[in-house]
């Protein structure tokens, strides 16, 4: 019985210690990030690796989701004679929710895992220790540029996702089904607000960028320096960042769109 209580206490303490550790790591990351602006070439390289090379998956996924959304919404709206609001439904779901969230989930899978594995292997190969020996802080040389690149890339990817999704929906709705194109665009222009909808979507994707990149870097930096450790850390990156993004999305949505 006492052993049971003991185990419970131990687990609680470990959980809080982990949380505190992650929080300190995150604060360090924030502290080193401005300095990486001075070595902007490193950030550009990382934006290329994280952002540009995620384009294919983001654009393909956005296009497919836009097409499917238009098709399904059309079937759902036609019985109510509301096919003209198809554009609005697709636009709002993409810009407010699907754009930021799905981009973040894909980003965690495509770029987050790469970050974790890269840094984990650096650690396993003792490259990080070597840097420290050369009086180079790996947090400012390796982590901070990646963090900044992730934060910059995520909103851009989310915007591209929404835009290509709307184009996909246009292709299906207007070209294939035959929804009136003027209606399709005009209902968006009259109902979608730049600040409230698009602006909040960008704020969301910015927050998700911080979460996904932060989790990926933390998992990579704190991985056990073994092949199994890196594999385990990569898995945790995807699971943790996905769960954090979904939970955060709920909170942000409740805060942003509660009064509209």
């Amino acid at each position: 019985m006492i052993a049971l209580v003991n185990a419970l206490g131990q687990a609680t303490l470990r959980a809080f210690a982990g949380l505190g550790h992650a929080a300190y790591f995150f604060l360090d990351l924030l502290r080193y990030t401005p300095a990486s602006l001075r070595r902007f070439g490193l950030v550009v390289d990382q934006i290329y690796a994280i952002g540009y090379r995620s384009l294919t998956i983001i654009l393909a996924s956005g296009f497919a989701v836009g097409c499917v959304l238009a098709l399904q919404m059309y079937y759902a709206l036609v019985p109510f004679g509301a096919a003209e609001s198809l554009g609005l439904v697709v636009n709002l779901s993409l810009v407010r929710e699907l754009g930021p969230v799905v981009t973040a989930l894909l980003f965690a899978g495509r770029a987050g895992t790469a970050l974790t594995a890269e840094i984990g292997l650096m650690k396993a190969g003792e490259q990080l220790s070597a840097m420290e020996l050369m009086a180079v802080d790996p947090r400012s040389r390796v982590l901070a540029p990646r963090f900044l690149a992730g934060i910059v890339s995520m909103p851009i990817l989310a915007i591209l996702y929404s835009a290509i999704g709307i184009l996909g929906a246009w292709l299906i709705a207007v070209q294939l089904i035959g929804v009136d194109p003027a209606n399709f665009w005009s209902i968006m222009q009259s109902k979608v607000d730049v600040m409230r909808d698009i602006g909040n979507g960008i704020v969301k994707s910015f927050v998700f960028g911080v979460i996904c990149t932060g989790v990926a870097l933390y998992q990579g930096y704190e991985t056990q320096a073994t092949p199994e450790g890196v594999a385990y850390a990569t898995t945790r990156t995807v699971v943790f960042s996905s769960l954090a993004v979904l939970a955060m999305d709920f909170i942000l949505t409740a805060m942003m769109f509660s009064t509209s």
Partner: protein, 182 residues
Amino acid sequence: MAKKSTETLVGVFVLLGIIALAFLALKAANLASFSAAKTYTVRARFDNIGGLKKNAPVRSAGVSVGQVTSITLDKNTYQGLVVMKINDTVMFPVDSSAKILTAGLLGDQYVGIEPGSDDKNLANGDLIKQTQSAVVLENLIGQLIFNKAADAGTAATTAPAPGASLAPVQQAASAAASGSNK
């Protein structure tokens, strides 16, 4: 050289993002409507604006010709003052009338303008005098019940003719339509 091409590709990436943002803001949101084609403003007072909202379309014969810019309560007459902007290319006679209509059964409400026959056209800042309020379902039902009760009082002695139960509905509808017509 490899460095150069990386920078170029990142530039392309950022540029794509900016283009997508411009597309979203201008084509798929309301940014373009802030600086759209030339418009002129007209006002109209309604006894009841129903569920009309800002940015609702203004239509004539079903064609969108403008937008509602503001809705306020007129402090003197206690009527809803609706300000709308109408495209410069479309002119309406001064005796045109404005109605608040509903798109479809469940759709949003919009302002419908029916052109009059006067020679002069509405100018910037003019007031549309003839208006018809939104149909409020509660008032319609209230009138129906009232009429029904009145009928029951007067026609208690005469047996109701078949099909008479439909008459109060029509009365109520026409009363609601003409009662608020100014």
